[in-house]
């Protein structure tokens, strides 16, 4: 529910995981630097840069040590409007997957390690794996 409106902030977070960043805003540089950790720059015309939060960009962020709370805090701190709840849920879900499967050396080969046995069963049944 829209209760917070911060016109001085530079970011509009869209429900389709795209982010619109105002270049002419005083907080632009700081926001850009923080978005770079977990969002992909899609286009950068003169006034509004477009970013996208994707599963890959979130994976990269997780690999670099970013946390769910950190990503959400960034979005919330710079967003003009309330961040869509579905995007927050997606971020938690996607980043929560990081590290649940690990590919490790085992002798001369590789071993796939999972936190939960059910996950390995799922992978075994997956026709594409």
């Amino acid at each position: 529910m829209v209760t917070g409106y911060h016109p001085e902030r530079p970011l509009i977070v869209q429900a389709d995981r795209s982010l619109l960043l105002e270049v002419d805003n005083p907080q632009f540089a700081e926001c850009r630097d923080r978005l770079a950790a977990f969002a992909e720059l899609r286009k950068s015309p003169e006034h509004i840069h477009s970013y996208a939060v994707t599963p890959l960009s979130l994976w990269n962020a997780s690999a670099a040590g970013a946390t769910v709370d950190g990503v959400i805090e960034t979005l919330t701190a710079f967003s003009k409007y309330e961040v869509p709840a579905n995007l927050l849920a997606d971020i938690r879900d996607l980043m929560g997957r990081y590290g649940r499967l690990r590919l490790l050396r085992a002798g001369d080969g590789l071993a796939l390690e999972a936190d939960e046995p059910d996950l390995l069963d799922q992978l075994r049944r997956n026709a594409h794996v």
Partner: protein
């Protein structure tokens, strides 16, 4: 002990009568004549509106009274029937309310206390699904009732009314019904239990699926034959014979049986339950939905999308049906796709909201926006909610006839304000509360209700109610505190919950125009005139394209006007790419001009056309020169133009499209003359005769001696010795012909 409404009105104090008039939507003057007032209050439409205000318990009290002799009972009898199910003050409060609605009168005293209603109430009271014995017996004659009574082992009463009462009393008696059921065969008992488990009503078709018997109909005509009771009967017939099951007809005059029903009185007698056991007597508690999660409604997005609909309609992109002026479904679906909303019904909701609220008004595909509704975000939101409250099925047609109707949806909005805010509640418990507070409108047990309430709740999910689900799958709803504030905040109060309109947009060099989610509706309307919507996931993104600019130009906007409009709200200077696009399209605009013309005139000699245009006798013709020797006649058709030219002394001919040579349609000559000319020419060809011919060409008369060669398709092919060339003459153009050196034959 039967009550007359006038008696109730006489017993009311002046203050109570004033309250009654206010509740029933009548002015104070109506109270002057009690007789006339009673007539108005007893009007079925007025009663239906009053019933819509009553809760479940009040409905049950009225239904119980309606079943009593004379629609009245002793106070103690009501007390016995209720048997402590509700506290005394709760009962008295309910009756006081009924009294102030003009529906019931009472005196709360052991003796001579009473409680009563009147005939109009009993007749108009909405009935839940199921059949009552009185209705089932309404069309039965006295002899049939007598046989029924005898079939049940009763000594039939002497008169029809008495027989009806006898059956009512017997079949409404628990012991009697238990006795009947006890004497049933096992298959009949099983069949009865099956019908009761199906809600007490089964259709004729549904009977086939019963697990007990293959019989799907009665063994008529022996059902009325008392002697038939001696024979073994099939279970269905046995139940009907014992009056535990009744035939049900959709229409009274229909000979076909629609189904079979256990009357409510029989059901209550068999189950031992009272009428007051058929539903909650006090408001049910709302159940919290633990750990429910869901999406909250966003009024900002709703208003943004409503603005999109306004733009979609007012820029002519919506197609409308001719017969009723409503939009084609395909048009609204196209809008839904453009808005990228997952709910296919969303654009239809927007349309209904904008129309019902008066935000969009007009007809016959021409619509305008009521700008008063766009004053500020809260005004627009409340306008849309007001429109929502007026759409959809309101519960009863009668409500529309009563002044100041509070339909189903308005009540729902009023309820929202009183619910616990920001708390997930089980949707079922909210529906149960609504069904208790206004059963005639919300309870699925009443025909016409239930579905309307469900539809109202569902449509409110986009507007003011959050929808969610608990981990166990239970549906839940939540009323945001912000919505309650919006609904209840007084003018001038500090602290809004909606962001103010954002009047600006950003035009990008890639020709995108980005508008904030809280953009002013007018900004969105303006963009719909110029650009195509590309994305709508919060901020709306439009794109200026060659096609969108062309559309704006075609609607009458000039390139400068387009640029001015864009600059007017742009937070930054317009990018050169955008200006270039608009200027380029502006230059292309108008290079092809199309006009309307009814006829054209083509002359072989351009000078002749100029002569025609200068001729005073032809000043009535409006010329539009198209090319040398060709001009359109704008104001008259070909036949009239020919007539005018001929009156002016010229010799025009009508030109068939696609031909190069003038050719007068054959219809210009009488058929007999054409045949005669054809014959003449054939003879000349056969005999090798030379012909002296006069014909009309380009408005001038020409003459020559020719040697005809061939006659084909209304044309004479000939050799012109004087010019040593072939010539083709239309028979219709020939005005004089003769054998060269012979007598002339003229036309």
């Amino acid at each position: 002990m039967s009550m007359q409404l006038v008696q109730l009105l006489q017993r009311l104090s002046a203050e109570e009568r004033g309250e009654l008039l206010r509740r029933r939507g009548l002015d104070a003057a109506s109270g002057a004549d009690l007789g006339k007032l009673a007539s108005k209050l007893a009007d079925p439409g007025s009663l239906v509106a009053a019933f819509a205000e009553l809760d479940q318990f009040q409905h049950l009290v009225l239904r119980w009274l309606a079943d009593q002799p004379g629609h009245a009972a002793a106070w103690a009898a009501l007390g016995r029937e209720l048997d402590g199910r509700v506290p005394p003050d709760y009962l008295e409060n309910a009756l006081r309310e009924l009294r102030l609605w003009g529906l019931v009168d009472y005196e709360a005293a052991p003796a001579p206390g009473y409680v009563a209603t009147y005939g109009a109430v009993a007749t108009s009271l909405p009935q839940p699904r199921g059949a009552r014995l009185r209705e089932l017996m309404a069309n039965l004659d006295s002899e049939t009732l007598r046989r029924m009574a005898m079939g049940l082992g009763l000594k039939a009463a002497p008169t029809r009314d008495q027989r009806e009462r006898q059956l009512l009393d017997s079949l409404g008696n628990s012991d009697f019904c238990a006795g009947l059921a006890g004497r049933l065969s096992e298959p009949a008992r099983d069949l009865l239990e099956w019908v009761r488990s199906e809600g007490g009503w089964v259709s004729q078709g549904h009977v086939k699926s019963n697990p007990v018997t293959k019989v799907t109909g009665l063994a008529a005509p022996t059902i009325w034959d008392v002697g038939a009771a001696q024979k073994p009967l099939d279970p269905l017939t046995e139940l009907v014979h014992n009056r535990l099951l009744w035939e049900f007809r959709e229409y009274r005059w229909d000979s076909r049986v629609s189904g079979y029903v256990v009357p409510r009185e029989v059901e209550q007698a068999l189950s031992g339950r009272s009428l007051f056991d058929t539903g909650p007597l006090q408001p049910p508690l709302l159940e919290r939905a633990e750990r429910a999660r869901g999406l909250l409604p966003n009024p900002v997005h709703l208003m943004r999308d409503a603005s999109h609909l306004l733009g979609f309609v007012t820029t002519g992109r919506c197609e409308f049906r001719q017969q009723d002026g409503e939009p084609y479904q395909r048009s609204l679906r196209a809008l839904g796709k453009a808005l990228q909303h997952p709910d296919a019904g969303y654009p239809f909701l927007l349309w209904n909201l904008c129309r019902a609220s008066g935000l969009l008004h007009g007809a016959d595909t021409t619509f305008t926006v009521a700008e008063a509704g766009l004053a500020d975000p809260r005004t627009l939101y409340l306008t849309l909610l007001g429109g929502w409250s007026r759409t959809g099925w309101q519960g009863d047609y009668s409500l529309a006839r009563v002044g100041n109707p509070r339909g189903l949806r308005m009540r729902l909005l009023e309820l929202l304000v009183s619910l616990p805010a920001d708390t997930w509640i089980e949707r079922g418990s909210l529906e149960g509360l609504c069904a208790f507070l206004w059963p005639a409108l919300f309870s699925p047990r009443y025909p016409g209700a239930g579905q309307a309430g469900d539809a109202a709740l569902s449509s409110l999910l986009h507007l003011a109610l959050a929808e969610g689900e608990a981990p166990d799958g239970t549906k839940a709803v939540l009323v945001p505190r912000a919505v309650q504030l919006l609904l209840t905040k007084q003018e001038g109060e500090e602290g809004g919950t909606l962001p103010p309109w954002d009047e600006r947009w950003t035009v990008q060099p890639d020709r995108c125009v980005v508008v904030a989610p809280n953009a002013h509706p007018k900004a969105l309307l303006e963009l719909w005139r110029l650009a195509q919507i590309e994305s709508n996931q919060g901020a709306a993104v439009f794109r200026l394209t060659a096609a969108s600019v062309a559309t704006a130009l075609n609607r009458g906007m000039s390139p400068d006007a387009i640029l001015k409009l864009l600059r007017g709200r742009s937070a930054t200077p317009l990018p050169p790419t955008v200006e270039r696009l608009i200027r380029d399209q502006g230059q292309r605009f108008g290079r092809i001009r199309v006009g309307a013309a009814q006829a054209y005139v083509r002359t072989d000699d351009p000078a002749l056309l100029e002569e025609l245009q200068r001729d005073r006798k032809l000043h009535g013709l409006e010329w539009q020169e198209l090319a040398p020797g060709v001009a359109a006649v704008v104001n008259v058709g070909p036949t009239a133009a020919i007539e005018v030219l001929r009156k002016a002394g010229y010799l025009p001919v009508a030109e068939r499209p696609g031909t190069q040579s003038p050719d007068t349609p054959r219809s210009n000559l009488p058929p007999l003359q054409v045949r005669q000319l054809q014959h003449f020419c054939r003879v000349a060809i056969r005999d090798g005769l030379r012909l002296s011919v006069r014909w009309s060409e380009g408005g001038r008369s020409r003459r020559a001696v020719i040697e005809p060669q061939e006659l084909k398709d209304g044309h004479l092919y000939a050799y012109w010795p004087g010019k040593d060339e072939e010539v083709v003459l239309s028979l219709a153009a020939i005005t004089l012909v003769s054998v060269a050196g012979g007598e002339e034959a003229g036309w």
